[in-house]
């Protein structure tokens, strides 16, 4: 009930606000025939009243939604005043109510001054809706940019969609009058309105694309989530609007003529009727768009959902890094782009249309095999992003599941050499090889869940729940990273919780920018801890102790790992699995890269503080700019 009222109030409020602003815009920019002055005025008052009433409906629905109460229980002065005075929406509501009141006052003023100031108030009433939407994000320049795009989008929609009602009215009046003077008025209005329409389409497209890029964030989100598909519906409705507007501009408006009689006049009368009908069709499509928008605003945007990819392939530019194929693919891309440009040109040189399309099809057909190299097989989960967070706990859980389900084929180290491997015709995949970095987390998720067709790899969705599968993927990545870390390649440091002596709690990833000196301290390491407590390694270094039986007194001055068993995950990196980590030390840079390891059994190393300082300086001098991302994260 609350949800229904919310969406309904939003549709009416959007439409009415657009009606006020669009009608005033129409009278300022397009036409204001004296005979229609009274009709336009009544329409303005009706829209303004609707905007205020629906505004109250929206406010009430939100008060109910925020407090979790029913609608009838929300008629509570205390609740309503809290929403009005203490929330951003409430303050925005008051401000917009003031804009509506000012617009009403301005309508009472003498003609010209009143019109202009009412127009300004109506624009403020419509544009300020941006703060009520998904774009109202406070955070930084990005937020300002998104907000600006939102405001432009609203105002442009107002000028175009809101102008359709007065335009239809004008056509209606011209049909009724049936004289040459009114046909001329209608012709000029139609011409001006179509010029406004062209500007509007450009601005709506540009600002809409900006908004979509914030809220959908990927093609997968557009095709794979309910939010994205509704947005596609909005785009389809918008395309239909453009098509109707194009017919008006290219076909119907040129037929309008004030010629007194004959075939020309009949054609002109027909065109006028069709223009009126089309204006109403456009207004209907516009209302459809507003309905979609009203609903979209109450949904979770696609960027927050796991998108189900509906196509069997996905785009990948990986092939462009293969020297043998690079040239071929670029040639195909350039040719296909030329084809697209030609097809565009054919709209201008209409006589060549047929020939150009044939040439384009031939080009595409010829280069299709090369263009195909830019695609990879895709699965419904290909664009899923792991929620597991690459924590030590996730990796440890993944290792356990891996040991129970995977080692028989893939082997204890994941190298594809398990006891059953020899009986298989196709060797199981070596999960430490480079290819593991080429697959998206979502692809791995699909293969582990459902198996790989035409191979011995079975699906495990019956045995493992989704969380465990993400854990296994974290383990597989950590395992492959560990092999490379042993050769000196920086690896992504698994995340873990940390508690400091003053009781504050944080996590490795939240230490933002600080170098972490991670020390695994066993019962024999008290002397080392005492030495470290006297050492000042610099203001940008935090020493964190992972207690493996160290004595409490020795631990006291340090921040400590607050994640029992986290050493299981760190054992995947040097020193290597099965070894005790007691005494081992790691350096993790500010971005979260594992940059250095010291194993006391391998030499004096960091027990000499100069060596430790040299290694720290090395990390400071050679920062890795990239943030460690989940291996196989799909960049779009």
């Amino acid at each position: 009930m609350t949800e229904t009222l919310l969406v309904a109030a939003r549709v009416v409020h959007f439409a009415a606000s657009i009606g006020v602003a669009g009608t005033l815009c129409f009278t300022v920019l397009i036409a204001r025939p004296a005979a229609l002055e009274a009709a336009y005025r009544r329409w303005l008052w009706a829209c303004l009243a609707l905007a205020v009433i629906s505004g109250f409906g929206w406010f009430l629905a939100l008060a109910a939604g925020m407090s979790g109460r029913s609608l009838s229980a929300s008629f509570d002065p205390h609740l309503l005043s809290t929403v009005l005075l203490q929330t951003r929406f409430g303050r925005l509501f008051s401000l917009r109510f003031a804009f509506a009141a000012l617009a009403a006052l301005a309508l009472l003023l003498p003609a010209r001054v009143g019109r202009i100031s009412a127009f300004a108030c109506a624009a403020a009433l419509l544009g300020s809706l941006a703060w009520a939407g998904h774009g109202a994000d406070d955070q930084g320049a990005n937020g300002v940019f998104h907000l600006a795009a939102d405001i432009v989008h609203l105002l442009t929609a107002g000028a175009w969609i809101g102008g359709l009602a007065p335009l239809a009215w004008l056509f209606q009046r011209a049909i009724a009058a049936g004289d040459g003077e009114w046909v001329e008025i209608a012709r000029r209005a139609a011409q001006r309105f179509s010029a406004l329409g062209i500007v509007a389409v450009g601005l709506l497209l540009a600002s809409g694309v900006i908004n979509a890029s914030y809220l959908v964030d990927s093609l997968a989100g557009l095709f794979g989530t309910a939010y994205g598909r509704l947005l596609l519906l909005k785009i389809v409705l918008f395309a239909a609007l453009i098509a109707v507007a194009t017919v008006n501009r290219e076909v119907l408006t040129p037929r309008l003529s004030a010629a007194p009689r004959g075939a020309k006049q009949r054609a002109s009368d027909d065109a006028l009727r069709q223009l009126r009908r089309n204006a109403l069709i456009e207004a209907g499509l516009g209302l459809g768009v507003l309905g979609v928008v009203a609903f979209l605003g109450t949904m979770v945007p696609a960027a927050h959902q796991q998108p189900l990819w509906p196509f069997p392939i996905r785009f990948s530019a990986d092939v462009l890094s293969v020297p043998a194929l690079r040239g071929e693919v670029w040639l195909a891309l350039v040719s296909a782009s030329l084809g697209v440009a030609l097809a565009g040109a054919s709209f201008v040189f209409r006589k060549l249309w047929g020939a150009v399309v044939v040439v384009w099809l031939v080009i595409i057909a010829f280069f299709l095999p090369s263009l195909n190299l830019l695609t990879l097989p895709a699965y419904p989960t290909s664009f899923f992003q792991s929620p597991a967070g690459f924590t030590t706990r996730s990796i440890a859980r993944g290792e356990q599941a891996f040991a129970q389900n995977c080692v028989s084929c893939h082997g204890a180290q994941g190298k594809g050499d398990g006891p059953l491997a020899k009986q298989l015709t196709d060797a199981p995949a070596d999960l430490t090889a480079d290819h593991i970095y080429a697959h998206s987390d979502g692809d791995l998720f699909w293969w582990i869940s459902n198996g790989i067709a035409n191979t011995a790899m079975p699906g495990f969705s019956a045995q493992l729940d989704a969380e465990t599968i993400w854990n296994v993927i974290d383990f597989v990545h950590a395992n492959a990273d560990g092999v490379r870390a042993a050769e000196g390649t920086p690896a992504r440091a698994p995340d873990f919780a940390i508690q400091c002596p003053d009781g504050t709690v944080t996590a490795l990833r939240q230490l933002g920018g600080r170098i972490v000196h991670l020390v695994f301290a066993g019962p024999q390491d008290d002397a080392r801890l005492a030495a470290l407590s006297r050492l000042d390694l610099g203001g940008d270094v935090t020493t964190v102790i992972a207690p493996l039986g160290a004595h409490e007194d020795a631990l006291r001055p340090f921040c400590a790992v607050a994640e029992p068993g986290m050493e299981q995950a760190y054992a995947l990196y040097p020193p290597g699995r099965g070894q005790s980590l007691a005494g081992d030390e790691f350096l993790i840079d500010g971005k979260g890269w594992l940059r250095g390891v010291w194993l006391p059994r391998a030499g004096a190393g960091w027990s000499d503080e100069r060596t430790l300082r040299t290694d720290l300086d090395e990390i400071r001098a050679n920062p890795i700019l990239a943030s460690p991302r989940p291996a196989g994260h799909v960049h779009q």
């Binding site: 951003r88 929406f89 009520a132 990005n142 914030y214 979770v300 996590a507």
Partner: protein
Amino acid sequence: MTHRVSGFLLACFLVIGTGGVAWAHAFLDHAAPPVGSTLAAPPPVIRIWFTQDIEPAFSGIEVTDSAGARVDDGTPRVDDRDRTLLIVGLKNLPPGEYKVHWHVISVDTHATEGNFTFRVGP
């Protein structure tokens, strides 16, 4: 066919770039104590950072022990300087497992809620 269409759309999206993600609902960004952590000493407060500014009047945190008894001080507040940070004080917690339930309204009026647990003691 589909891949050509998607390729074309992809090209459109590449042109505009994907930018940063503006979080339109307030989701849990990170918490202290971290979700699922085990602490040696009891934490004095719970802090939860959200992905968006939140409305203090309609946002809260409740912390309960394994028996279901409330162990927070009942007065959650939004940080003055960081409107994405919700804080609630805690009683002195004995060792055990604790459940944190949070519910917030983002400044653009969307409601979200969630749970996580942490442990105190070995």
